[in-house]
Amino acid sequence: MRLARNLAFGLVAALGAGVAQAAEIVPGDVVFRDGAVETPLTDQPGDPARGREVFSQRSQGNCIACHAVSSLSDVPWHGEIGPPLDGVAERWSEAELRGIVANAKIMFPDSMMPSFYKVTGFIRPGDGFTAKPAKEIKPLLTAQQIEDVVAFLKTLK
């Protein structure tokens, strides 16, 4: 019994370590070429179903606040600020989509779009929406969330 418990503990620890060690490119190390990012930010492939959630939910990407998408007709209130994204996978390569989601201002310097995978260069950054100064700035989306959104965008053909 005790052995089994130790084995189970060891297994959980190993899994935890495995997740922590998953290759992930930190925001400062992302390589942009003409605004595109060739290399995925994690070695875990993006999941379009999770990306759909990140795209739609206010507490996550909330991309829909600015971009309309016909296939998300079940989600209320699509914004008009950015271009509609129907067929976006036909217009942009995966690397371009990744670059735009990670930091759209590399490709479009005047874009209003927030930079979702950036941690420096902000003016008066706050700790979320608390109005207090940020202690540590985390990117708006994690590397995996970026990959998930890119996977979702690739379904928009």
Binding site: A65, C66, W77, G79, I81, A131, A134
Partner: protein, 279 residues
């Protein structure tokens, strides 16, 4: 698509999206017609300035067209009481010095914020009120966005309703105005949003469930259905910068007074509408 984005960078062309208001709808309050659209001054980045009233839905618009329906008027009534009630060690009320609010405060809101020669600095209406309270009445100052202050600014603003916004931007105002313009175009917070991103480049368009306006302040203090109270100009600025995931300037700060002057000047020619009703 890129061309479309580029075209929309010039806000005038984006106006095609409309304001969400029925064209030709007039804002008439108690028989007085408000100017809700006016040609912009030469220096203005837009060609036409438009009141926030035009961007709201008909139900919200209607609330402002009848003073019995306008929820802000409850607070105006409270302020009328305060106007004539002595407060502080000097035993004075507003009325003791200023007499009838309808006479003495007419036109005051239209020129706010106003440079105070004696203090050598720019003052918002709230500064003038608190100066009266502390220096003349020997009473405690009110909190910038507290219920007494917003009620009193609403009562005073009402005395200018229908008059055109008439702030000055020359002489001693110029450096404040330039500072305000700089703040207006600075992209704050982790979302890196400037006032101009929403209110100059994308007004008339939906950001999720909200229709963006030009961010005019001629309707302040404003009763918002969202929080069911009167909201000060600086409190609205505070909320906007907080929502950029940023650290706002303090209410009553020089930065927000400069921004108040600049934003007021972007509405030159519109009628003072306060206290208005908004989402």
């Amino acid at each position: 698509m890129r061309t479309l984005i580029a075209a929309c960078a010039s806000a005038a062309l984006c106006l095609g999206a409309g304001t969400g208001a029925a064209e030709g709808q007039k804002l008439v309050i108690e028989g007085q017609e408000m100017v809700t659209r006016a040609p912009a001054p030469d220096w203005h980045p837009l060609t036409e300035v438009i009141s926030g009233w035009e961007f709201r839905d008909p139900a919200t618009q209607a609330l402002q067209m009848d003073d019995f329906e306008n929820p802000a008027m409850i607070f105006v009534d409270q302020a009328r009481e305060m106007w004539s009630t002595p407060d502080g060690a000097a035993g004075k009320s507003c009325e003791s010095c200023h007499g009838a609010v309808e006479d003495s405060m007419k036109g005051v809101r239209a020129v706010m914020p106003k440079f105070n020669e004696e203090a050598g600095t720019l003052w918002s209406l709230e500064d003038y009120i608190n100066n009266c309270r502390t220096a003349r009445m020997q009473a405690e100052p009110w909190k910038w966005s507290g219920s007494e202050m917003t009620a009193m600014t609403a009562l005073i603003t009402l005395q200018s309703r229908g008059m055109p916004v008439a702030v000055r931007i020359d002489g001693p105002y110029q450096s404040w105005w330039e500072k305000g313009r700089e703040i207006y175009y600075t992209r704050y917070g982790q979302l890196e949003l400037a006032c101009a991103n929403c209110h100059e480049d994308h007004y008339g368009q939906m950001i999720r469930a909200d229709r963006l306006s030009q961010g005019q302040i001629n309707g302040f203090p404003t009763y918002r259905l969202k929080n069911a109270k009167l909201n000060s100009i600086h409190n609205r600025f505070y909320g906007c910068i907080r929502d950029t995931r940023g650290v706002p300037f303090a209410e009553g700060s020089d930065e927000f007074k400069a921004l108040e002057l600049y934003v007021a000047s972007r509405g030159l020619g519109l009628s003072i509408e306060g206290p208005a009703v908004r989402n």
